[in-house]
Amino acid sequence: MIDLPEGGTVLGFDGSDDAEWGGVAAPGAPDDGALHLALEGWEGPLDLLLELARKQKVDLREISILALVDQYLEFLDGAEQLKLEVAADYLVMAAWLAYLKSSLLLPKDEQEDPSPEELALRLHLRLQRLGAMREAAGRLMGRDRLGRDVFLRGSPEGLRTHRTIAWQADWYDLVRAYGQVKARNAPALHTVRDRQVMTLESALDRVSSMLGVTLDWMVLEDFLPATADPRLRKSAMASSFVAALELARTGRADLAQDDIFGPLRLRRRRQQAPA
């Protein structure tokens, strides 16, 4: 059983449904404003039919479809404000209902398929479902609603998750950091290691004096002093090389090298007769 609330008068629907919806605005904010200007707040033909059916004050299953059809057509006749261009749905429904009515009145054996009874049943079912939802909406809106009937705490403190940083350092880190600071800033004493070198002067002396002994080519290495210290040997090599270049530049020696990185040879230059 669907228990439908009572409505206002059939033709003078004036939105007095308000109270039944638990404070929600009933008409006035329809889906299609223009339509409702003409039809005073009905949400389409089905809505109007449901409203008319409710006026029969019987279970929706028991309503007389014929009576409903008559009321619908009568209503459309009486709706003076009806604007054709916006009420097309209503007129289509009216035409369909007129057809349904005539079919219902015809003798049974002249009926086509689907039978008018089946069409009427479908209409019944649709009205029932819409009625059920409308009633459910009413009951829903009538519940104790948050912000209307029940309230949340006015000013909750809120639950918060605080992220804190727990700094980590241990004794070792600390002490070592101090040690490093100290070490970094300790007065630094730089000592240059004492290293044996052969100076250019001594190389010049040595090479030129050795050149005086022979007129043959000699490899540069032959001029180096005998030493086990590789560093000193490197230094002697560098100085002797520079000395050889110096002797060549001043015309006292000839320098020859057959290939790149080949042995560097030098010999005393023959004294030209000063002509």
């Binding site: 929600v24 605005a25 889906d31 089946e118 939802m133 459910a136 809106m141 009937d149 809120g158």
Partner: protein
């Protein structure tokens, strides 16, 4: 519950009282430092019972718990709080259809209401936080389907959708079935009933 309240009860009271949103048992358990969820559940039941006769109630809405004022104290509080947005009748109907039929497409809503539903109506419901898109129906056109939200349950004081007023009765009487199904069922019934007459 008499004498000193248990410390878990006190902790739950404090947390729920301070919370800005309703909290699930999981959230409560983790917030209170990984308390056993069964214990939280028991304590919540105990507290709900304890607060039932008072001016503040502890309620569960869609698996979330919160404190709210007792419904019968509404008249004392309402005068200051008339900010609740009025819903159009179209919107209340669409909301009811979504709630009782969910998930439901716009075409299905329209077929029940016998009228086109403007997008604005669904928007209002979505803006209120009561309805949300819930995927698409895997039929040609893949229409968007809509369902209610936890906030809907909270607002209307429902523990779950099973608490929707009259839903069992509506389901039992086939009022939630599509017209075509109901029609087929009725025709079958009639055939059954007519057979004895014909015999």
């Amino acid at each position: 519950m008499s004498g000193e309240p248990e410390s878990l009860d006190r902790a739950l009271e404090a947390a729920l009282f301070a919370a800005e949103d309703a909290l699930t048992i999981d959230q409560l358990a983790s917030h209170l430092g990984d308390v056993d969820k069964g214990a939280v559940r028991d304590a919540l039941a105990r507290l709900a019972q304890f607060y039932a006769p008072r001016g503040i109630n502890l309620v569960e809405r869609g698996k979330r718990w919160h404190f709210q004022t007792a419904p019968d104290c509404a008249h004392l509080l309402r005068k200051e709080r008339e900010s609740l947005r009025k819903l159009s009748r179209a919107a209340t109907e669409v909301l009811a259809i979504v709630a009782y039929h969910e998930p439901v497409s716009r075409a299905e809503i329209e077929s029940i209401r016998g009228v086109q539903t403007s997008g604005g109506t669904l928007d209002v419901l979505m803006e209120a936080g009561w309805v949300k898109p819930a995927g698409r129906r895997e039929v040609p056109g893949r229409p968007v389907i809509y369902a209610t939200t936890p906030e809907f349950l909270r607002h209307f004081g429902l523990e779950s959708r099973r608490d929707l007023p009259g839903i069992d009765e509506l389901r039992a009487t086939g009022m939630l079935d599509p017209v075509e199904e109901a029609f087929a069922a009725e025709m079958a019934d009639e055939a059954d009933q007519e057979r004895p007459d014909e015999a």
